[in-house]
């Protein structure tokens, strides 16, 4: 019982369907019983009237009951027969009652209607004193009367019996339809990304649900405000940190121009590297904060090769310092509908990571290809790669692979992921040298037309990450 209660309480829709059905059943039952009884009584009275009319007819026409007895009654059902006889006539009938004989009635009865048992059956008897002073009885079998009355009562109940089941089928369906708007609303909220904090449409919502929707909207607004404040704080904090960091790096630059011992100069070099790290981290923090705020809609497609060239221009000095052979494979170009700043940020972070993690004299390759409806951008390096078990976690901010002694902000892949999610692209990781399980190949799969995030790109992992040419020297 408790289980059923829970089953009902869990769903308003179910509860409504069941209670409505029960209420209709109850009302139908009462109405059915009532109309059955009233139809039954009416049929009964109608037959009593027949008895009265027969008696009155007999009286008025001065007919002797004997005239009627045994004549014509053979036709039709013997049970429907109306028996008319004189009371106190003790002559025993030659025939049984069923064959048209007389009823064994008492010699005297009070005038009026009564129900009597005679000859093993129940009869409805009307006794009347005629003008001639003798008593006549008009009788009919009750069994038959009941049958007639029941049949006519059942006819009045039939529509109920047919319509109630139909109603019971219709009600859950109607209730479900009524609740469809609520279901649609739920689906709309479900389909949102974490950035979809705009308020829900309140106009076409039923009045009962509207307070909830309004409350949810207020909550959404509060969440948006707090997220915004948090983002602004990160951005502001990074901005504020820029000033002291600038002061620091300027002072270090001035110091380097002064006379000093070799040991001091070496320490100063380390110090300036540290300042450079702080600067890099700050810029990455700012980029990360920015990826989570404004969504820029591109006005025109961007050439991937042009973005590759721009990123290479910026990062060539970094690669040259480590004697890394960096370049673009293949001549193919592709245009993507992504804002130039977003695409540049993604590629810059991937190439920056590749250069950072690739040992001196290694190789970094950029490529772009089109597979079906997907544009695939790949950045391959000959570094140590990432263990497959960590693929999911490396996108978390500040996550670092164990045993890594490299210097990075810990935000590069988080930025790549955040932008990819926003532009509906997918990021895949694979080893660039499959046999050795080393090196990293990052693929960014961008749908050719802008589609909603969550749409799956085509192709399999191995397609984009062929073995890097063995150029490790």
């Amino acid at each position: 019982m408790d289980g059923f209660k829970n089953f009902l309480n869990e769903s308003l829709q179910r509860k409504l369907s069941v209670t409505l059905s029960l209420a209709i059943l109850g009302v139908a039952l009462v109405a059915g019983i009532f109309s059955f009884l009233s139809a039954f009584n009416e049929a009964y009275e109608l037959q009593d009237d027949v008895l009265r009319q027969v008696a009155a007819l007999m009286d008025r026409q001065h007919l002797a009951p004997d005239v009627l007895a045994g004549r014509g009654s053979r036709e039709g059902n013997e049970e429907s027969r109306v028996i008319v006889q004189r009371l106190g006539d003790a002559r025993q009938a030659p025939l049984g009652v069923d064959d048209g004989g007389r009823l064994p009635l008492p010699k005297s009865l009070p005038n009026g209607l009564q129900t009597l048992r005679a000859a093993g059956e129940t009869f409805r008897v009307l006794v009347r004193t005629t003008a001639t002073g003798e008593q006549i009885a008009v009788a009919q079998e009750t069994g038959f009367r009941n049958q007639i009355a029941r049949a006519s009562a059942l006819r009045t109940v039939t529509p109920f019996l047919v319509l109630v089941p139909i109603l019971l089928i219709i009600i859950p369906d109607l209730v479900r339809k009524m609740f469809r708007r609520v279901a649609l609303l739920a689906r709309e909220i479900d389909d949102r990304t974490e950035h979809g904090l705009h308020p829900l449409e309140e106009n076409h919502i039923p009045a009962e649900v509207r307070p909830f929707v309004a409350a949810i909207n207020r909550l959404l607004a509060r969440v948006a405000r707090s997220m915004d404040a948090q983002r602004r704080f990160v951005a502001d904090a990074a901005h504020e940190l820029r000033t002291p960091l600038t002061a620091l790096s300027l002072q270090a630059e001035l110091v380097s121009e002064a006379e000093m011992s070799d040991a001091a100069r070496e320490r100063l070099g380390v110090l300036r590297t540290g300042i450079e790290r702080g600067r890099h981290l700050l810029n990455q923090l700012l980029t990360f904060a920015r990826t989570q705020s404004v969504v820029e809609t591109p006005k025109s497609p961007v050439s991937v090769q042009a973005v590759y060239r721009r990123v290479l221009e910026d990062l060539l000095p970094l690669a040259a310092a480590k004697r890394i052979d960096i370049g673009v494979e293949g001549q193919q170009d592709a245009s993507v509908w992504v804002s130039e700043m977003d695409l540049t940020t993604v590629i810059r972070n991937l190439v920056d990571n590749a250069i950072r993690y690739t040992p001196d004299g290694g190789r970094v390759d950029l490529a772009v290809s089109t597979i079906g409806d997907t544009i695939v951008l790949t950045v391959k390096d000959t570094g140590p790669g990432i263990p497959e078990a960590e693929y999911d976690r490396v996108f978390d901010p500040f996550y670092r692979s164990l045993g890594g002694d490299r210097v990075g902000s810990g935000l590069g892949l988080s930025i790549v992921k955040a932008i990819s999610d926003r532009i509906g692209a997918e990021v895949r990781l694979a080893p660039s040298i499959a046999d050795a399980q080393s090196g990293l190949c990052v693929s960014v799969l961008i749908p050719m037309r802008r589609v909603l995030p969550g749409m799956e790109g085509a192709g399999s992992d191995s397609v984009h990450c062929q073995q890097a040419p063995g150029t490790r020297s």
Partner: protein
């Protein structure tokens, strides 16, 4: 050359002042907007370095006031905000260029030189990246400590495209666009051929190839 530094942060202000003095500029340093306006009114400056995040009076406000008086002094904005809006408002407000924090002295000095050069009205026709220079008037290229080398029309067109922005990578098709006019048929390997001959005439490492991406002249500052 007299430079006014408007910067509220003592460490940055001091460092920039020392650096400018080392670079033989006369540098005055003020820490807020009103003092900066006083200084501009009483002294003739060749260039102003203006920090946007000033206490009391906003840097942009100072900028508008200076320009409102018809003062066309060269002005560089220093800002920690890399939002596009701030930069655009600064440039619209009459700044000649901007430097983003954190910056290095070398970058600041280079930008100052560029602004002063532009202001002097002499558009410097000779292109240079510190290693090689190119004179569009004579179509001669000169290596450091070398003698001028005459370039052919196409060699010049290609080299000029690269020298306009040292450090920028130009793809084969971008270079072909610069070398060949509309309707001219592009010969295959023309770019490689021109670069080969430029390297022979000047030096092997004057033009760098970036594998798969294109060519560039290095940016030496």
């Amino acid at each position: 050359m007299r430079v006014l530094i408007v910067e509220d942060d003592p460490m940055i202000g001091e460092a920039v002042q020392v650096a400018l003095k080392n670079a033989s500029y006369a540098a005055d340093w003020v820490k807020d907007g009103p003092t900066a306006l006083d200084a501009v009114n009483s002294q003739n400056y060749d260039l102003i370095l203006l920090d946007l995040g000033l206490p009391g009076k906003d840097g942009l406000d100072v900028l508008t006031r200076i320009r409102a008086k018809g003062n066309s002094v060269s002005l560089l904005i220093i800002t920690a905000r890399d939002g596009l809006d701030d930069r655009v408002r600064g440039l619209d407000g009459g700044a000649d260029d901007y430097v983003l924090k954190p910056f290095e002295i070398a970058e600041l000095l280079a930008r100052m030189r560029a602004v002063l050069r532009r202001k002097s009205g002499k558009a410097l026709p000779v292109l240079s990246n510190g290693m090689v220079s190119l004179d569009p008037a004579t179509r001669q290229a000169t290596m450091n400590h070398g003698s001028p080398v005459q370039l052919s029309n196409r060699e010049f067109a290609l080299f000029q495209a690269l020298m306009v922005r040292p450090g920028a990578i130009l793809s084969r098709s971008e270079l072909e666009d610069r070398v060949y006019g509309w309707g001219e048929e592009v010969e295959s390997n023309a770019v490689e051929f021109l670069i080969h001959s430029l390297r022979r005439k000047l030096s092997g490492d004057v033009i760098r190839n970036v594998r798969g991406a294109g060519w560039m002249v290095s940016k030496t500052s």
